[in-house]
């Protein structure tokens, strides 16, 4: 009886620590995001050639970065899930995969908006764009696979397999598209502009990357908590496999 109360007490205090940490992260992230927006729209000088549309890069690059970060989280937690069979790794992979789709979608939209202004077209089949689109399709497939799987435990295992395969595939997709388009003239890419960034622009970009990383961490944390709550409500705890 004594021990049960102790465990409950420690569990409650763990939860308290977690919610305090989450609140701190929310406040820090919120302040950073406000500062980031101020930097991007008020402080950083306007780029001379491309004009005001170049400011979209301070959103586009961090979004692409968080997209890649989230797919890496899916990959690692999928491997650990298949290895250990613990439900919390599946919760992390699933939550991160949803964020992958969201961040990659936003990357594609901001990229297309910029491309329309800079290149005059919404889309070109340039290697980086094509790879991003295929990446998006693979993680949409991941979420569909979860939705269509017959049981939660199969959904967890199937999607872990997809999370691993998709991540391993990305470099191969990039190489193949790069070679396939290799005969065509390369349109000006992100690499060409970031080389000539002045220090104010670089500071803004780096700050924005940090801000979006905090945003990603916070949203991922909230999504995992939500996922745990969903599981608890539906009483669908996946029986933990022994490794």
């Amino acid at each position: 009886m004594e021990t049960t109360t102790d465990t409950q007490k420690s569990r409650t205090s763990n939860r308290d620590v977690a919610s305090v940490a989450k609140a701190v992260l929310l406040v820090v992230g919120g302040v950073m995001m406000l500062a980031d927006i101020a930097l991007i729209f008020l402080w950083v000088p306007t780029e001379q050639v491309m004009g005001v549309v170049q400011r979209i890069f301070y959103f586009h690059v961090p979004l692409a970065w968080t997209g890649l970060l989230s797919t890496t989280v899916v990959f690692i937690s999928s491997i650990v899930y298949l290895w250990k069979g613990q439900r919390r790794w599946d919760a992390l992979a699933h939550s991160s995969a949803e964020l992958s789709v969201m961040f990659i979608t936003l990357t594609l939209i901001t990229g297309a908006t910029w491309a329309k202004m800079a290149w005059g077209v919404w889309w070109t089949w340039e290697p980086r764009l094509t790879t991003t689109l295929i990446l998006w399709l693979m993680y949409m497939g991941y979420l569909m696979l979860r939705a269509y799987a017959p049981t939660p435990s199969l959904a967890a295992r199937y999607s872990a397999v997809m999370g691993i395969i998709a991540f391993v595939d990305v470099p191969i997709v990039y190489f193949s598209v790069n070679w396939w388009r290799g005969i065509h003239p390369r349109v000006v890419g992100v690499g060409a502009t970031s080389g000539s960034l002045d220090s104010d622009m670089l500071i803004t970009l780096i700050f924005s990357v940090f801000t979006f990383t905090v945003l990603f961490t916070y949203v991922l944390w909230e999504r995992v908590s939500l996922r745990n709550a969903e599981d608890a409500v539906q009483g669908m705890h996946i029986t933990e496999r022994t490794a």
């Binding site: 298949l82 295929i134 399709l137 693979m138 949409m140 497939g141 569909m144 696979l145 269509y148 799987a149 017959p150 199969l154 295992r157 199937y158 872990a160 397999v161 997809m162 691993i164 395969i165 998709a166 391993v168 595939d169 191969i172 997709v173 190489f175 193949s176 598209v177 070679w179 396939w180």
Partner: protein, 224 residues
């Protein structure tokens, strides 16, 4: 080595025997592949000038879609008749089952491609003389069937399983399609094996990576 190889061949032989008796898979892949080529004929109207441009694409889109159709069937019989449980009861590891099923699918697709290539060559008037086309077909089909067998084993258990397989497989297999089309197109344009070697290397890399990864994770797909 033989201790590992024989169980694989036994699983493959089971599927071959089934196919020899029903002829379901090869017939449906063949007819569907041919139909795709006929439909493309209306879509592109391949006059001699256009042929070199669109035919490599037509060939591989036909093989890809027909392959998806065949892969969809790969585990349907195992599931509907409950023979998957029988396979799982066999005293062999899961990767043996994977490699056995993969080898069977791979052979069926190769057989169909061996029939369809001459048919396409007649329909679209191109030459089959270069043996490199065979090499491209083997490497591309192996990679496609390698990931496809893994996804097929998952898709068969999902709702709307016919949709699930292409949704998962086509983006992942995009490098295979790109490499196969590009290499085929180069060969038809008169390039030699050396000119397309980087595409062949890409296909071989894809095959090796995904055969290893799929063998590792296949167990997780089959466990009940």
């Amino acid at each position: 080595m033989t201790g590992f190889l024989i169980p694989i061949l036994v699983v493959t032989w089971k599927d071959i025997l089934l196919e020899l008796r029903t002829k379901d898979m090869v017939t449906s892949i063949f007819v569907f592949g041919l139909l795709t080529a006929v439909i493309f004929n209306f879509a592109f109207d391949p006059t001699p000038a256009v042929v070199a441009l669109v035919v490599p694409g037509i060939i591989w889109v036909a093989f890809t879609f027909a392959g998806v159709l065949g892969l969809n069937r790969a585990f349907v019989l195992e599931k509907d008749r409950g023979s998957l449980e029988g396979l799982l009861l066999c005293p062999v590891s899961r990767d043996v089952i994977y490699l056995g099923k993969l080898l069977a699918i791979f052979l069926f697709m190769l057989v169909v491609e061996a029939i369809l290539f001459p048919v396409f060559a007649v329909l679209y008037n191109f030459s089959l003389a270069d043996i490199t086309l065979f090499l491209i077909a083997v490497l591309a089909t192996l990679g496609f069937a390698g990931v496809g067998t893994l996804f097929s084993a998952m898709a068969v258990n999902t709702r709307s399983r016919e949709i699930m397989l292409p949704v998962l497989l086509l983006p992942v297999a995009a490098p295979v399609v790109i490499a196969a089309v590009a290499a085929t197109s180069d060969i038809m344009g008169g390039a030699s094996v050396g000119d397309v070697s980087r595409w062949l290397q890409l296909l071989a890399t894809f095959d090796v990576i995904f055969l290893i990864v799929s063998s590792f994770v296949f167990g997780a797909v089959l466990e009940e």
